[in-house]
Structures are given as structure tokens and as C-alpha cells.
């Protein structure tokens, strides 16, 4: 496939960026690791590619006065894997970043781009005019759906491709979204869109808006987190199943919990029933098994992806078991 023609601009300010984005079919270029592939494969088109690579204010990673961490949207995935502020307070985020793609792609890809990336469904990426591309049919429903979602699908059965997003949801992180008008702050949990809410989009970003930063709440005492990913290949592969855990312990019991799955649903998938089951409890085999089973209670597998149910149960149980007696 060849790269289609487009015009290319590198604005020097956000204001200038917004004016470029307001002109017709424009796309934001940050690391470009996903955008260029999509353009080359004809997943979508762009008349104008707006590079935000000169916006240095989007590159900072800093601790704010209230103890929270602000990560500029252009911070690379590689930076997240080894930044002191991230490694110390938010290990699940560092672990998730390390599970992303390959070293080259982590050096180039950004946290903002990772959150806004397009799904990896092979029908969406391939020469199939599917519902997400404006067609009338989801080819995964009766097709090769071994890697597709078991939760949250309707009319489209993608899984959300990000490893970083589930970790951010587990931390209760937010994103800053800037546009020509006012800048808004949205929990990462509310950033993503289920197919039933809008089958052709993945995030709530409106045309002309830019995701400018990720905000992590201050890390607290007694707080433990982790991310683990099961994949078909050791590098450069998306999750078959993944789980981000963020647990508060108080006197040996779970005082608060977030369990968020990757590879399960079209968005990072929280498991509120499982969280309820473990909250207030000290983790033992019985509680863990119940929590793992509850996470899959709503699962609706298709012909080829039923294996994911037991895979997720095993994965969640194994990850929770690491916190027994901690």
C-alpha cells in the first residue's frame, strides 16, 4: 500500500493547532505510530496532518502542588516505563507501558496517542467495510472473532487496544481535553465510548479537540497496583487478556479496589461486582475465586472467543492471589 497524499503542518502553539484542526478532514499527528499505519492501510483518510510535535508544553511530566502527577500528552510510552515519578507511585502504569508494542514503538509512541489509538480488529484494519467504518455489517460477529470482545459489544466487537488505559482507569486518572473553547477535565473512565453509544468513534473527543495531558491523583499509603498482560507473542502484540489492579489495604483487608480489564471489551472494562466482593475482605482463595467469577458473569462470548472467560478468571485470580496476606 502507498501513502496517500495529504498536507502537513507543524503548528507552534495550541491555538494555531485548533485553527488547523477546524479545517475539514484534519488528523492529529503525535508519535504517528498508529496514524501513519491507518493512512497507509486506508482505514481512514486525511486531507491535512497536523503534527503537534513542536508543542513542548505537552511533553512535561511533573508533580503538581497537590501531589498529583501531570503527564503531558506527548510524553513517550518509553518515558512512562522509566520515569521516577511513575515508577515510584504508579507501578501498574510503568508495567503497562512496558507491555506496549516494541522498544522502537515505545520510543516513538505517546501516552496521548496510546489513549486515542484506533482498534486492532483485523476486519476494521483490513479491506472490510465494517460498521465502524460506516458500513452495515460487523464481520467479526460471524467471522474470525477469536481476539474479539466478550463484554460490552453490540453491533461491533472490538477490544480496546490500550494497555495504559486500564492502568489509568484503575488509578482514577483524568485527562485534559483542550479545544477552541474551554478546556475540560474528564475521568479516563469516561473518555471511551461503547459501540452502542457511537459505533464509529472510540473516545468522546470532538473534532478539533486535543487530549493535552493525563492527571494522576496523589499516590496514597497502603496502595498497591499492578498490570499483567497475556499475549500470543512476547513483544509487539496486543492483549488477549490483561488486568490492572489498584488496591487499598487497611489492616490486612481490602479497603478499596479497582479491577480493570484489557482485551475484554471495546473500552477498558471495570469489574464493579468483583471490586465489591473483595472490598472489606482479607483476600483468601474463596473470595478470590468469587471475585474472578463475578468479573465474567456478564460475558457473552461468540463462536471463537469463549476461551477468554476462563483465561480472565485464571488471570484475575492469579493477580489477586499475589496480594494474599499483604
Amino acid at each position: 500500500m502507498t501513502m496517500p497524499n495529504f498536507s502537513y503542518v507543524r503548528p507552534k502553539s495550541l491555538k494555531e493547532t485548533f485553527s488547523h484542526l477546524s479545517a475539514g478532514n484534519a488528523r492529529i499527528h503525535a508519535g504517528g505510530t498508529d496514524l501513519l499505519g491507518c493512512l497507509r492501510d486506508g482505514v481512514f483518510t486525511a486531507e491535512k496532518v497536523v503534527s503537534i510535535s513542536q508543542l513542548d508544553e505537552l511533553k512535561r511530566v511533573e508533580r503538581l502542588k497537590d501531589g498529583s502527577i501531570r503527564i503531558g500528552a506527548l510524553a513517550t510510552v518509553a518515558e512512562l516505563t522509566n520515569h521516577e515519578l511513575v515508577k515510584e507511585g504508579y507501578p501498574a502504569l510503568a508495567q503497562a507501558a512496558l507491555e506496549v508494542a516494541s522498544p522502537q514503538l515505545r520510543n516513538q509512541g505517546t501516552i496521548g496517542g496510546n489513549l486515542c489509538q484506533k482498534p486492532r480488529c483485523w476486519y476494521y484494519r483490513g479491506e472490510f467495510h465494517c460498521t465502524r467504518k460506516g458500513g452495515t455489517r460487523c464481520f467479526a460477529m460471524a467471522g474470525e472473532n477469536q481476539y474479539h470482545c466478550i463484554l460490552g459489544g453490540r453491533g461491533c466487537y472490538i477490544v480496546h487496544p490500550s494497555d495504559i488505559a486500564p492502568a489509568l482507569v484503575a488509578y482514577g486518572a483524568s485527562v485534559e481535553i483542550a479545544g477552541a473553547g474551554e478546556t475540560r477535565k474528564i475521568p479516563v473512565e469516561k473518555l471511551f465510548v461503547l459501540p452502542e453509544q457511537g459505533i464509529t468513534k472510540e473516545t468522546i473527543l470532538e473534532p478539533g479537540e486535543v487530549l493535552t495531558a493525563v492527571l494522576l491523583p496523589p499516590a496514597e499509603e497502603g496502595f498497591h497496583s499492578s498490570y499483567r498482560k497475556v499475549r500470543a507473542r512476547g513483544s509487539w502484540d496486543f492483549a488477549l487478556a490483561g488486568v490492572a489492579l489498584a488496591l487499598h489495604f487497611h489492616e490486612g483487608r481490602v479497603a478499596g479496589a479497582r479491577i480493570v480489564l484489557s482485551g475484554a471489551a471495546p473500552i477498558p472494562w471495570r469489574c464493579p461486582d468483583s471490586e465489591k466482593i473483595i472490598t472489606g475482605q482479607s483476600l483468601d482463595d474463596d473470595i478470590i475465586a468469587r471475585a474472578a467469577a463475578a468479573a465474567m458473569r456478564q460475558a457473552r462470548p461468540m463462536q471463537h472467543n469463549e476461551y477468554k472467560i476462563e483465561l480472565f478468571k485464571g488471570l484475575i485470580a492469579e493477580e489477586l492471589a499475589a496480594y494474599k496476606r499483604s
Binding site: Y123, F128, F139, E144, A232, S235, W236, Y307, E310, E318
Partner: protein, 390 residues
Amino acid sequence: MDALAEGIGMDPVELRLKNIPAVSQARTGNPPYTSTGFRQCLTDGAKSFGWREVRSAIASSNKDRNWRKGVGMAGGMWVVGGGGPPATIIVKLFADGSVSLNMGASDIGTGTRTVMALVVSEELGVKPDLIDIDNADTATTQYATPSGGSKTVPTESPAVRAAAIHVKQQLLAMAAEELKEKPASLTMKGGTILSLADPSKKIKVTDVAGLKKQGLIVGIGYRGPNPANRAINPFAAQFCEVEVNIKTGEVRILRFLSANDSGRVMNRLTFDSQVIGGITMGIGLAMTEARILDRNQTGKIVSGNWHDYKIPTAMDVPADIVSVPIDSPDNEANTTGAKGLGEPVTIPTAAAVANAVYNATGLRLTSTPISPLVLRRALAAMEKGTSKQG
């Protein structure tokens, strides 16, 4: 083979050792092999791997863990690998003692050029760095068959040797005149020609008047036919240790060992490189690679890119790969004693992995790739079966 061995309560290495054929059972007339180092592949491989010890120790290490260890082995032979005509090589020896080797065959990263230089060096006593190689150029080199079928070394190297011998014959004839000896009573050693009977009678190659006068000697070598009514095949035995997560279906390959009989080991570095590369490709077959069609709808391929068609990465291949070369020149096969290496390495790899997974889990998988998806399905089927019985 593994199931057969288990069925009769025999070690799978032992079963293979008891069944090594001296003749090809698949070919008409059952021709004998020119050589089979399969026995040595099995015994040397098992010994280096610590097969018996590891196998008996591993079962007890698996109690109460999600990650279960297992070991497996498999044997293999490659259907071709003997090479054969045509191949035409031109070797030129210049008056300054340097050599030019002209060859049609390509070096696709396998070390062909290195191996051919070593053959010339061995025959003419010239240092490899004095040998200039011109190859795989349709304007300046001879017709050659493609580099495939693990045949480049056994096809080309005998022709290289023949061309070098052709040069040597002419050179020794010139030197014989000067030393007043018969060509047959002369030998070459490190750039010097000397009498076998009286080593004090000698002359440096660069001092041979005939060569100086002529400026160069041209030798041509052709690949002769393979021996009639013989089968020429490389053999291999491989051993591996894996770890399988019985909850998630993940497999980690902890180490691999490959013992290969490919006749003479022409060069250890490139030999080992072929072994490591072959195991890597074999792991791709075993674990990650699958061509997937949209079979119920459009018939189009859905895994038609390098993300969805998953070749293994450095993270899928163990750091601990051991090559055990069985260095046994096959002098009946050809004049360099080499058989093919490359594809033969990939033959037993997936089977060894599958047998190790069986050893770890009790799951007998007979198709590839052995991915978490496939293993998770198999585990579910086994769990179901167990609960029914219980």
C-alpha cells in the same frame, strides 16, 4: 512417537535409538543412507541436555504452582539436503598469491561466502582474507540454482573444491618443472609448495616462474552427480524445557538444545547461527505463526500483515540455546563431506515444544500454533473431562 513411547513405558529417546533405520524406508528400493548421525544426535543431545536427570526431577517441582515445568524432545530428518548438480565455479590464483572465487550462488545471510572461502583456503593453503568472492551477479557469474532446500553448501562446495583442485594441478605442474619433481610427489602448505619426499625442496607459490609469467591460473569446477542408489539426508534431535501456566495457557520456553548431523561442520560460527535461526523459526511454527482466513464469509485473509501474522520476536526465543554439532564428514555424499543445514533444524522444534507441553500439563496437542488461546481451550476440555469423571 512420544505417545507411543509413553504407551509402552519407554523413554522417547530410547524408543528412537531402537528404531534407527540404515536405509530410507520411504524411497523406492530402500536405498541406504550415505551417513546417518541420528544415533549420535540422540545420545550426545540427551547427554548435553541432561535429559534423564531433568525428566525425572521435573515432575516433583510442579506441585501447587500455576506455572508447570516440562521437558520434551523430538527427532527429525530433512527430505533433501544432499544438494546436487548443476554448479559451476571459477577460481583464479593470481601471481601475488591472492585468489578470486567466482560463483553464481547467493549468500542469503547463511554464511555461504565464508564456507566457500574456507574450502578454497583448505585446498590451496591461502589465507581466507586473500580470497575475493564475486557471487550472485547475473552479469559476471555462472548460472546457479537458488539458495533453498538447505542445499547451497553441499551443492556449491564440491564444485569450489574441484575448481581449486584444477588450479592446484596446473600450479603443481609448473612447480614440478622448477623443482625437477613429479607433480604427484608435491604438496602445498601455507603458500609454499614442497616435495613430499624431501621437504627441503620447496618453492613459494608467488615464486613459481610459470605463474609469474602467466599472471594467473584459472580453474573451473563442476558439481558432479551424487552417488547412485543412495539417500543423503541430514538428521537432528532436539530437546527443550518449557513452563506452562495452567490458568492462562501461557507458555515460556526456558531452553532449547539442538544436536545436528549435517555431515562435516564447515564452520562452527555459521553452523551455530543456522541452528539458532532454525530453532527461532521452529518456535514461530510451534507458538505464534498462523495464517487465518475469513473462512465463513469472504474467504479473504485476515492475518495478512506483520502484526496479525506473528513471527517470533527476541522475547519469544530463549537466551539459552545450545548447538551440539555432530561433526561427521559424509565422504560418500560429496568431496567436502557436507550435508545441508538450515531447514533440518526447524523440523523437530514444534514437536519438541508440544511434547514438553504434554510433559508439563498432560495435554497432547497435535496442531500448531500452541498459543494461550489453543491451550486455554484444551485446558477447558481437560477440566471438563476431569470434573465429569470426578
